[in-house]
C-alpha cells in the first residue's frame, strides 16, 4: 500500500462518525463577519491606507500623476541610489527624470547581481487600507518576486483610488491565486527579540509608498 | 421564593461561615432558603482530574437532591460552572458513547436553574445594593470559572461598589489565575505556588486589608499562601462581605 492510500484510509476510518449527509461547505460556514470595518468615503479610505502604512514605518508620499517623475527622481537621489531595478512594464514616463542606472528585471540575473542594485521601483496589484498592505502579483509593472526583495530600498507606486480597497476580503476578490502573490505591510520586521518589534531585517529596510492621484 | 443552597462540600466542611453568610444575606432579602441535607459534592474534582465516570453518579445525585427547587444558589463559581457547563457535556459524552440519553435527561432540569450567588442576586433578584456595610479596603479577584465559564462579568463588582463603607481598589493582573486549579495545586505544586505568590504580591501592592473572591477553593490557596508569606491581608468570601451590616459583621 502506498502512503497516499494509507493516509487516506486512516482519514476515512477516523471520520467514521461523520454522516454522509453532513452539512455542505456553503452552509457549514457562517459569513456574517464584516466585508469591511466602518463606512468611509473614497478619500477617507485612501487616508486610512496612508495612516496604516506609516504606522508600520513605511514612508508615504502623495502626488499627482504629473508630479510622479520628479518625486521618484528626488526619492532616489535623496538616498544616493546609483542603480534602480525596473520591471518590464513600468510606465516609461515614471522614470523620465531619474538619473540612476536602470537595471532591467531579467530571468538570467543572479541573486548576487541583484544584491548590488540600490533600489527598485514597482507598481502594485492592490492596496488594502485597513491593514496598510500593498499586494504585488508579478504583473508587468511589478516584475519577478525577487526584485522587490533583494534591494534594500523599495518604492511602490499605488494608483489611487483605483487600486485601493478597504479590507482583506475585498482584496482577495481582486487577486488571482494562480499568480505568485506577495503581501507587504511595511518594511521587514521582527518580534523575535523579547517580542518587541524591530523594523528592518532581510527584506528592504526602507519601503516608500507613493500614492498617485 | 424558595431556593436551595448548594453550599458545596468544601464550604460545608471548611468554610461554614460562608454558608451562614449566604443564608443570612438571602433571608434578609426575603428569600426562603433551604439546605437539602442529602447534598454532597458536584463531582468537579473527579471530572477535572479525569474521572468522568466517577463524577456521573454524583451528577445524578445532585439532580435528585435539587430537582424540586425553583432555584439552586451556590457561593462557588467553579461548582456552579460544573453544573451549568459540564453536566450537559457529561450527558452529551454519555450519549456519544452509546449509553443513551438518560444522564442528559436526568441533569437537564437542574442545569438552567443553578445560579452562582452574585448572578442570583443581580439577575434573579435584580438587586445590586444588598444593604450591606463593610468599612474596609477590599480588592477583588475574579476567579477563573466565574469569570470565563459563567461569565459573571462585573456583577460582583457592582455588588461590592454598593456596600456602605467599602473602599474597592483594583487588583493588578486581576484576571490571571491564582494557581489553584484543583488537583493542579498538588500535581504541579511548584508552578501553582509561583502563581499563588504572584497573585498575593499583586494583592499586597494594592494596600487593601481584604482580598475578596466568590470561590473559597481559590481563597484557600491564596489565603494559605498569604499566611505562609506572612502578608497581613485576609481572604474573605464575597458572601461574608455582602451579609455584613452595620449591626453585625459576618466575619
Amino acid at each position: 500500500m502506498s502512503s497516499r492510500e494509507r493516509i487516506l484510509g486512516r482519514v476515512r476510518r477516523a471520520l467514521a462518525d461523520v454522516p454522509r449527509d453532513d452539512t455542505p461547505y456553503d452552509r457549514a460556514v457562517p459569513r456574517d463577519y464584516l466585508r469591511e470595518h466602518g463606512e468611509r468615503s473614497t478619500e477617507e479610505t485612501v487616508a486610512l491606507l496612508a495612516e496604516n502604512l506609516a504606522d508600520y514605518r513605511a514612508v508615504v508620499h502623495r502626488c499627482a500623476d504629473a508630479e510622479l517623475p520628479e518625486l521618484l527622481a528626488r526619492l532616489l537621489a535623496g538616498r544616493g541610489s546609483r542603480s534602480v531595478l525596473v520591471p518590464p512594464g513600468l510606465p516609461p514616463h515614471w522614470l523620465a527624470a531619474v538619473d540612476a542606472t536602470r537595471v532591467p528585471d531579467r530571468a538570467g540575473s543572479t541573486p548576487h547581481e541583484l544584491d548590488r542594485v540600490d533600489s527598485v521601483i514597482t507598481g502594485c496589484a492592490v492596496a488594502i487600507a485597513e491593514t496598510g498592505t500593498i499586494v504585488l502579483d508579478g504583473g508587468p509593472d511589478q516584475g519577478r518576486r525577487r526584485i522587490t526583495l533583494i534591494p534594500d530600498h523599495h518604492i511602490c507606486v499605488v494608483r489611487v483610488p483605483g487600486q485601493v480597497v478597504s479590507s482583506v476580503p475585498r482584496a482577495l476578490r481582486r487577486l488571482d491565486p494562480a499568480r505568485p502573490l506577495t503581501w507587504i505591510s511595511g518594511p521587514s520586521a521582527t518580534s523575535d527579540i523579547e517580542l518587541d518589534r524591530v523594523e528592518g531585517v532581510h527584506g528592504p529596510r526602507t519601503l516608500e509608498v507613493v500614492l498617485v492621484d | 421564593m424558595r431556593v436551595a443552597l448548594f453550599l458545596t462540600c468544601v464550604n460545608d466542611t471548611l468554610y461554614p461561615d460562608t454558608g451562614r453568610a449566604v443564608v443570612r444575606l438571602l433571608t434578609r432579602l426575603g428569600v426562603e432558603v433551604d439546605f437539602p441535607a442529602a447534598q454532597t459534592c458536584c463531582g468537579q474534582a473527579h471530572y477535572n482530574t479525569g474521572y468522568r465516570h466517577e463524577a456521573e453518579p454524583l451528577a445524578r445525585h445532585f439532580a435528585e437532591v435539587f430537582g424540586e427547587y425553583e432555584a439552586i444558589v451556590t457561593p462557588s463559581g467553579s461548582c456552579g460552572a460544573m453544573v451549568r457547563e459540564l453536566y450537559p457535556r457529561m450527558g452529551e459524552r454519555a450519549r456519544a458513547e452509546g449509553r443513551g440519553s438518560t444522564l442528559a435527561a436526568t441533569v437537564a432540569p437542574v442545569v438552567p436553574k443553578t445560579y452562582e450567588l452574585t448572578e442570583f442576586l443581580v439577575d434573579v433578584l435584580g438587586v445590586t445594593d444588598v444593604g450591606a456595610c463593610y468599612p474596609h479596603t477590599v480588592t477583588y479577584h475574579p476567579t477563573c470559572h466565574g469569570l470565563r465559564a459563567l461569565g459573571l462579568g462585573d456583577r460582583p463588582l457592582k455588588l461590592l461598589r454598593a456596600v456602605k463603607g467599602l473602599e474597592l481598589v483594583e487588583l493588578p493582573g486581576a484576571e490571571e489565575c491564582c494557581g489553584f486549579g484543583g488537583t493542579f495545586a498538588v500535581k504541579n505544586a511548584d508552578v501553582s505556588a509561583a502563581m499563588g505568590t504572584d497573585k498575593v504580591r499583586n494583592a499586597e501592592s494594592t494596600g487593601a486589608e481584604v482580598l475578596c473572591a466568590a470561590d473559597n477553593s481559590c481563597l484557600m490557596h491564596i489565603g494559605g499562601t498569604m499566611s505562609r508569606l506572612r502578608v497581613g491581608m485576609r481572604p474573605v468570601h464575597i458572601a461574608e462581605i455582602l451579609a455584613s451590616t452595620e449591626e453585625g459583621a459576618a466575619v
Binding site: S3, I7, L8, V11, R13, L15, V18, D22, Y25, A28, V29, Y33, L34, H37, P111, D115, G138, R144, R145, R146, V168, P177, P180, L181, T182, W183, S185, S188, T190, D192, I193, E194, L195, D196, G200, V201, G203 | L14, P16, G19, T27, A37, A38, Q39, T40, C41, G50, Y51, R52, C144, R148, C177, G182, K187, N188, A189, V191, A193, T225, S227
Partner: protein
C-alpha cells in the same frame, strides 16, 4: 528535534527548574506580558472578532470532517500547477522523502523558513546525518540553532533568551556557521537584527534548495501561504531553484475566500499586528519567477490518530498563532522547554499527547500542565476548547480506553502511577453517595482539629510546601443548619 525529547522528565519536574530560574522567569514574564496587551488591543480594533472566530472554527471543522476529499483536491490542484505531491505517513518517511529530494539536486545545504512541521519531524538532524546542512533563517530559529538550544515558543522560539544572551550567542557562534558577528556588537535589538541580516545574506544569495512549511494550503486552487515578518521566508521561497514544503495535512482550507478570515485573525493573534510584514502565496511553479521545481510533502505523523478522536480532533484546528502560550500563566512560569515538545504551552499540552500518544512520562503529564483557567480558550482565534481536551486526555491517562495509534484502534491501559489517586477518587465518590458518611468524616475532622498539623507528610507536602492549611471549623455547616435551621444561634 523529536529525538531530543526522548526521556524527557514529566512536566512537574521539568517545570520546577524553570520556576526557580529567575532570569528565565523574568524573560518570559516580560515577553508574554508585552504581547498580551498588544494582542488585546489588536483584537479590539475589529468589531466582528467573534464572527471571524466562529467562521474560522467552522471552516477548519468542516475541512477536518471531509479531509479525505480535500487532500485529494489539493493533490490535483498542486500537480496541475506544476508541483509534485508526496505523502508521508510518519516523521521517518517525511525525512526520507526530503533527504532524497535534496540529494537529487546534488546540493549539500538548504535554507529553511521557520516551520513547526519540520521541527516536529526532526528534519535538520535527519539531513545532517546524510551530510546536508540546514540553515535556519528565522531570527529566533537562528538564535536557537547557533545556541545549540531547543525552541521554547511556537512564534518566538528564542523567547527564553533576552537581548544580552542573544548578543553573547551571536558573538560566540556565528563564525562557526559563516560570517562572524560584527565587531563591537551591542545588545540593541536593531543591531542584533542587522547582524542576522549580514550573516544570513550570503546563504540566501547562494541557496539552491529552500525548505518551508505552510500556514495554509487552499484546496480549490492548490495555493500555499506562508505568513512571516522578516523576509527570510520570501528569500527561501523565491531565490532557490528547488522548493520543498513540508505541510501537515490539517493545514488545508477549502477555498481561496477562506483566507479572508485567517489573514485577519492570525496576525492579530500572533504578533498583535493588523497585518504581518510579508505574506507569500504561490501556486505550483511560475515560469521564470521563483523555484523551477516545487515539492509538497503532506505529513500525517499522528494527525489522523488525532482526527479519530471526536473530542480531541479540534486541536487540529490550530493555526499556530501562539496566543494561548502568551496568555497562559503556567507557560509564563514553566517556560516552553518543560513541555518536552516543539509544541509548548496549552496547545502543546493537548497536541503532543495526541500526536505522540500518552505512553511516555512527559506525554502522560502534559494534560495536567494546566490549572484549567480557560484563558487559552478565550484568546484562541479558532475557538479550540483547550480545557475540554485537557480533561478528556486526563481521562485517557487515568482510565485508559479506546484510542487510535498509527491508524490502528487500540485499547489503552490506565497509566502507571495513578493507582492511589484512582482509589481515592473512587472512595470519595462512594462517600459522597452517602451523605451520612460525609457528615461522620466532617465531624471527625472538627473534633480533632486541635491536633491537625500545619504541614503534611507524604503527598500532602505538595500543598503545605508553600501554603498553610485552612483551620478546620468547630462544626461543619450542616451541623449548624441542623441545630438552627438557618436561624440565628446566638453564637455570633
Amino acid at each position: 528535534m523529536s529525538g531530543t525529547y526522548l526521556g524527557m522528565p514529566a512536566f512537574p519536574q521539568a517545570a520546577r527548574d524553570a520556576v526557580r530560574d529567575r532570569r528565565l522567569r523574568g524573560n518570559l514574564r516580560h515577553a508574554t506580558h508585552t504581547i498580551r496587551a498588544k494582542r488585546a488591543k489588536a483584537v479590539t480594533e475589529v468589531s466582528d472578532w467573534a464572527e471571524l472566530r466562529e467562521a474560522g472554527r467552522r471552516i477548519k471543522d468542516h475541512t477536518l470532517r471531509h479531509l479525505d476529499r480535500y487532500l485529494v483536491q489539493v493533490e490535483e490542484a498542486v500537480t496541475a500547477a506544476g508541483g509534485t505531491v508526496h505523502w508521508a505517513a510518519d516523521a521517518d518517511e517525511a525525512n526520507r522523502i526530503v533527504t532524497a529530494l535534496v540529494k537529487e539536486t546534488g546540493e549539500s545545504e538548504v535554507v529553511k523558513v521557520k516551520s513547526m512541521a519540520t521541527q516536529e519531524i526532526g528534519l535538520n538532524e535527519a539531513l545532517e546525518a546524510e551530510g546536508i546542512r540546514a540553515y535556519e533563517t528565522d531570527l529566533a530559529e537562528l538564535i536557537v540553532q547557533l545556541g545549540k538550544d531547543r525552541p521554547s515558543h511556537i512564534l518566538v522560539p528564542a523567547i527564553h533568551r533576552n537581548r544580552g544572551e542573544i548578543r553573547d550567542i551571536f558573538r560566540a557562534e556565528m563564525s562557526e556557521w559563516g560570517r562572524p558577528a560584527p565587531e563591537g556588537l551591542t545588545d540593541t535589538p536593531a543591531e542584533l537584527a542587522e547582524a542576522a541580516r549580514l550573516h544570513l545574506r550570503e546563504k540566501f544569495l547562494r541557496a539552491k534548495v529552500g525548505v518551508s512549511g505552510a500556514n495554509f494550503v487552499v484546496a480549490e486552487t492548490g495555493t500555499l501561504v506562508v505568513v512571516e515578518s522578516e523576509g527570510n521566508g520570501r528569500m527561501c521561497l523565491t531565490l532557490p531553484e528547488t522548493l520543498i514544503s513540508v505541510v501537515g495535512i490539517e493545514k488545508i482550507v477549502p477555498t481561496w475566500r477562506d483566507l479572508e478570515v485567517f489573514l485577519q485573525t492570525l496576525p492579530r493573534s500572533s504578533t498583535a499586528e493588523r497585518m504581518n510584514p510579508y505574506t507569500s502565496m504561490w501556486t505550483g511553479t511560475t515560469d521564470e519567477d521563483g523555484p523551477r521545481t516545487f515539492h509538497l510533502v503532506l505529513l500525517d505523523n499522528g494527525r489522523t490518530d488525532t482526527l479519530a478522536d471526536e473530542v480531541g480532533r479540534q486541536a487540529l484546528r490550530c493555526i499556530r498563532c501562539s496566543a494561548c502560550l502568551n496568555v497562559c500563566p503556567v507557560y509564563e512560569r514553566a517556560g516552553g522547554h518543560a513541555y518536552g515538545s516543539v509544541y509548548p504551552g496549552p496547545i502543546g499540552a493537548i497536541l503532543s499527547p495526541q500526536l505522540r500518544g500518552t505512553g511516555s512520562d512527559i506525554d502522560a503529564s502534559l494534560p495536567y500542565a494546566s490549572s484549567l483557567c480557560g484563558a487559552c480558550y478565550e484568546v484562541c482565534p479558532v475557538a479550540i476548547d483547550i480545557p475540554e481536551v485537557l480533561v478528556h486526555l486526563r481521562e485517557r491517562v487515568v482510565q485508559g480506553g479506546p484510542a487510535t495509534r498509527r491508524g490502528n484502534k487500540v485499547l489503552l491501559k490506565p497509566a502507571r502511577g495513578h493507582a492511589a489517586e484512582r482509589a481515592a477518587m473512587r472512595a470519595a465518590q462512594w462517600a459522597f453517595a452517602h451523605p451520612g458518611l460525609l457528615r461522620t468524616g466532617q465531624r471527625l475532622a472538627s473534633r480533632t482539629r486541635r491536633f491537625h498539623p500545619r504541614t503534611l507528610p507524604g503527598p500532602g507536602r505538595a500543598w503545605t510546601g508553600s501554603r498553610d492549611l485552612p483551620a478546620v471549623p468547630a462544626e461543619p455547616f450542616r451541623d449548624w443548619w441542623q441545630r438552627t435551621r438557618g436561624g440565628e444561634d446566638g453564637a455570633e
